[in-house]
C-alpha cells in the first residue's frame, strides 16, 4: 500500500494548451493517505476518468508528477505500478473455475500454494462465493462475474493501490446495495488504498472515507460525506450532493445578517465584507415552512412518501423545502425560516469561512 502524491499535476488533450480552458484536468496538488478509500465523484466530463487514467498509467500527464510513496511513477507503465484495477464490465476467464480466477494474480507472481489456498478462501468468503468456487465462470450471471472481478482485484495484499472505474454499472439495482456495502467492509478489513470513480453520489459517499468532488476539470472539495453535506466548499458541491441539492440564493451579507429581496435573516456566524457574487446556501432539509419568517410562495407540493418536497418561489428564486410526511401544508404557510447555524455563505461560488468568534 502506498501514499499517492499528486504534485502540480495537470492534463490537456491539446498539444499546445493556450489557457486554463484547454486543460481537461486543472492543476492539482494533493496527498492521498496510505490505506484510505477515496471516491472521485462528478458528472460526465468533469475530469475524473482523466485523473484515474493518469494514476493507472494509461495516460501521461502534460505537467506535474505522480508519486507512489517516494517513487516517481509519472512515466512508468501500468504494469510497473503494482496496482489492481476493476472495470465497469467484468473481466473474467470463462474457461477457468471461480477459484482459478481468484488465484490468478497470485499464481502469476509465484506465490506459494498454501498461501494461495488460504487467501482465495478468505476472499471467496468475503464476496460470498464459497459454494461456487469449483464451478466454471462461464454461465454465471453478470453480477456474479463482477463479484469475481472485485475479488480478484482484492486478492493481492501487496498492491500500491486498488482502482475501481464505475464497477457497479452492470449490477442490478437491489444488488448494488449489497456490493457497495461489501466493498466498504472489505476496505475496513484489508486497508487497501482505494480509488473509486463514479458519478453516483450514493456509491461515492457510502464507499469512501474521503470524497473528491470534481467539476469542470477541477477538484472543488475533498471531504467526508458529512462535510460535503454540512459545509459544501463550492456551490457545485451543494447542488450535486443531495437530492434535491442545496438552495443557492443571491444575497447581501453584512456581518452576521443576510438580506434577500426585502427580507433579513440572522446567520449563525459573522462575515468580513465580501466582494463579487454573494450567495447563501441552504439545504432543503434546513428550511422550514412556517407562519412567520420570510415571505415565500408555494408552487407545488410533491409527496415522495417518506417526506414532502415543497417547490416554492422565494423572491423570484426557485427553492426546495423538505417537509415531514405528515405535515399539513395549509394556506397560511406563506413564510419560510432557515436554520441560521446551517446556512453557508458563498462569494464567487466558493464558501467563505466565517470570522472567528464573531456571531
Amino acid at each position: 500500500m502506498a501514499q499517492i502524491t499528486l504534485d502540480k499535476l495537470a492534463h490537456s488533450y491539446f498539444p499546445n494548451p493556450q489557457g486554463e480552458g484547454d486543460f481537461a484536468l486543472k492543476e492539482l496538488n494533493h496527498v492521498w493517505r496510505d490505506g484510505e478509500a477515496y471516491a472521485l465523484l462528478g458528472p460526465s466530463g468533469c475530469g475524473k476518468s482523466t485523473l484515474l487514467n493518469i494514476i493507472s498509467g494509461l495516460l501521461h500527464p502534460s505537467q506535474g508528477r505522480i508519486l507512489f510513496g517516494d517513487r516517481d511513477v509519472t512515466r512508468a507503465a501500468t504494469a510497473d505500478r503494482n496496482i489492481a484495477q476493476v472495470f465497469q464490465f467484468p473481466v473474467v476467464y470463462d474457461t477457468m473455475t471461480v477459484r482459478e480466477n481468484l488465484a490468478f494474480p497470485l499464481r502469476n507472481r509465484g506465490a506459494d500454494a498454501a498461501y494461495i489456498k488460504a487467501r482465495v478462501a478468505q476472499i471467496a468468503a468475503m464476496i460470498g462465493m464459497e459454494s461456487v468456487l469449483d464451478q466454471k465462470a462461464r454461465g454465471l450471471t453478470a453480477d456474479a462475474k463482477q463479484k469475481i472481478s472485485l475479488g480478484r482485484g482484492m486478492v493481492r495484499e501487496d498492491v500500491n493501490a486498488l482502482l475501481f472505474d464505475e464497477p457497479l454499472t452492470v449490477i442490478d439495482p437491489h444488488m448494488k446495495w449489497e456490493l457497495r456495502t461489501q466493498l466498504k467492509s472489505l476496505h475496513q478489513q484489508f486497508g487497501h488504498t482505494m480509488i473509486y470513480v463514479t458519478h453516483d453520489q450514493t456509491e461515492a459517499l457510502t464507499f469512501a472515507d474521503k470524497v473528491v468532488v470534481m467539476h469542470d476539470g477541477r477538484v472543488v472539495q475533498i471531504g467526508t460525506p458529512e462535510e460535503l453535506f454540512e459545509r459544501p466548499e463550492h456551490t457545485f458541491v451543494g447542488y450535486f450532493i443531495g437530492s434535491p441539492g442545496m438552495n443557492v440564493i443571491p444575497a447581501r451579507v453584512d456581518g452576521a445578517r443576510a438580506f434577500v429581496g426585502g427580507a433579513e435573516m440572522a446567520l449563525g456566524c459573522g462575515y468580513a465584507p465580501l466582494d463579487g457574487k454573494v450567495e447563501i446556501g441552504v439545504r432543503p432539509e434546513h428550511a422550514r415552512l412556517s407562519t412567520d419568517g420570510m415571505p415565500v410562495k408555494i408552487r407545488r407540493v410533491e409527496d415522495v412518501g417518506r417526506h414532502k418536497i415543497v417547490r416554492a418561489d422565494f423572491f423570484g428564486h426557485d427553492i426546495n423545502i423538505i417537509a415531514d410526511e405528515g405535515a399539513e401544508i395549509g394556506a397560511d404557510m406563506t413564510r419560510v425560516t432557515f436554520d441560521a447555524d446551517r446556512v453557508n455563505v458563498y462569494a464567487n461560488d466558493w464558501r467563505v469561512a466565517p470570522m472567528e468568534g464573531a456571531a
Binding site: 459517499l205 458529512e226 417547490r311
Partner: protein, 362 residues
C-alpha cells in the same frame, strides 16, 4: 378516451409473462407501472401498444376492440430507456419525422415541432444533431418526438433510467407538467418507488407478471393490500417482524406491548406479521409512546442528504432511513424506536388486515 384490458394474459413458450389482467386507464391520467426488473412492466406495455398480441383476452380503445390491430394503425407513441433518435438528422427533423410520415402539411409541422420543442426546452438546440446534446437533452428530444404526434396513448418505458441522477431529478419534475398539458393517457414504467410517488396519478404494482394492486399512487403506497405490494412499493424494503394479538394487546417479538386500538381492536387473536417502513424507524429521536427495540448497527449508506442504517435485530435485517448525513458507530449496539401508529398488520398469508393508523389518517 379509455384503454381497457379484459382478461389479458401472455404466455411465451411454457412461461407465463403476464397473468390474467383486467385494467382500465382513462383520458388525461398518468399511470405508473411499478415493479422490479423482469416483473412484467415492458411485457404489459408491449401488449398495450399492440407490439405483442395477448395469448388470451381482449384490448379495447374507446370501447372498440383493437386486439388484433397493428401498432402502426393505433394512436400510440413509445419512449424507451435508450435514447432513440436519428443521429444524422437535426433535432428539428427528428421531432418532425413522425408528422412528415403522417403527411401533415408543412406549416402545421413547423408549428407543432416548435411548440413541442418549447415544452421540452429544446428551442435553442433545434439545429443541432442529437450526439451534440447531453444525455438529458437527447432523451427530451425522444420525448418531444413522442409527444408531437398527439397520440392518445403515450408509453414511457423507464425513460430516465440511463440518465445520471441530477438530470433524472430535473426531468422527473418536468414530466408531470408536460403530461398535464397533453391530455393523453400516459403509461410510465419504473423500478423506483420514489419516481412513482413523484409522478403521482395511478400506480399498478407488478410482481412476477401480476398486477398486485392498482389505484391512486399515494393510496397504493400508504395502504398496500398485501406484503408483496408493500415490498414492491418500498425502497429500501419494508421491515417485518412477528406480532401476536391477545385480547386488547399486541405483543411484538421482543416482548414490546402496544394496545390494540382502532381497527386492531376488532382483529381476531392470533399470529400476524407487522410491517413498517424504513423512514418510520426512529433512531436519533423518538415519540414518547414509541416501542423500544435493541439492534446492532451493521452498515450505513449515505445518499448525499440521507443516511440508510442497516441493522441486525435478532438475526432479522432491518433498514432505517434518517435525514441528514450521520457518522454512526458500525458494529455498536443501538436502540431504535417504533411508533405503533406506523405499523401495518399482515395476515400470515400476506394480506393486509390493518393499515397503519397514520396511513388511514393521511
Amino acid at each position: 378516451m379509455t384503454l381497457r384490458l379484459e382478461g389479458v394474459c401472455k404466455d411465451v413458450g411454457a412461461q407465463t409473462h403476464i397473468h390474467t389482467t383486467d385494467l382500465e386507464l382513462v383520458k388525461g391520467t398518468m399511470n405508473v407501472l411499478l415493479g422490479p426488473t423482469s416483473s412484467g412492466k415492458t411485457s404489459l406495455m408491449r401488449l398495450m401498444a399492440g407490439l405483442d398480441q395477448p395469448t388470451n383476452g381482449r384490448i379495447f380503445w374507446n370501447g372498440a376492440d383493437v386486439t388484433g390491430q397493428r401498432v402502426q394503425d393505433r394512436k400510440v407513441a413509445m419512449v424507451y430507456q435508450q435514447f432513440i433518435n436519428y443521429p444524422s438528422m437535426t433535432v428539428y427533423d427528428n421531432i418532425a419525422s413522425p408528422l412528415r410520415l403522417m403527411g401533415v402539411d408543412k406549416g402545421e409541422v413547423d408549428r407543432r415541432v416548435r411548440d413541442s420543442a418549447e415544452l421540452m426546452k429544446l428551442t435553442p438546440m433545434l439545429d443541432r444533431k442529437p450526439l451534440e446534446l447531453s444525455g438529458g437533452q437527447q432523451q427530451r428530444c425522444a420525448l418531444a418526438r413522442a409527444l408531437v404526434k398527439n397520440a392518445g396513448l403515450v408509453l414511457l418505458d423507464e425513460p430516465l433510467a440511463n440518465l445520471d441522477y441530477k438530470l433524472r431529478e430535473e426531468l422527473r419534475v418536468e414530466i408531470p407538467r408536460i403530461f398535464e398539458e397533453s391530455g393523453a393517457i400516459f403509461v410510465y414504467a419504473t423500478t423506483e418507488p420514489e419516481e412513482a410517488l413523484l409522478l403521482g396519478g395511478q400506480t399498478a404494482t407488478l410482481w412476477e407478471g401480476r398486477v398486485t394492486q392498482f389505484g391512486p399512487t399515494a393510496q397504493v403506497y400508504r395502504q398496500p393490500q398485501d406484503m408483496t405490494t408493500a415490498r414492491v412499493f418500498s425502497d429500501p424494503p419494508m421491515n417485518f417482524l412477528p406480532v401476536a394479538k391477545t385480547g386488547g394487546k399486541l405483543m411484538f417479538g421482543d416482548g414490546q406491548v402496544a394496545p390494540a386500538t382502532g381497527r386492531l381492536a376488532e382483529l381476531a387473536d392470533g399470529r400476524y406479521t407487522a410491517g413498517f417502513r424504513p423512514n418510520h424507524l426512529e433512531i436519533l429521536q423518538h415519540a414518547p409512546d414509541a416501542m423500544q427495540f435493541s439492534a446492532r448497527l451493521d452498515v450505513t449508506e449515505l445518499t448525499g442528504s440521507e443516511t440508510f442504517v442497516h441493522l441486525d435485530h435478532q438475526g432479522a435485517r432491518w433498514v432505517g432511513l434518517i435525514h441528514g448525513v450521520h457518522d454512526l458507530q458500525i458494529g455498536a449496539p443501538l436502540s431504535v424506536w417504533l411508533d405503533p401508529a406506523h405499523v401495518y398488520i399482515f395476515a400470515e398469508g400476506g394480506q393486509l388486515v390493518a393499515p397503519a393508523a397514520y396511513a388511514v389518517a393521511a
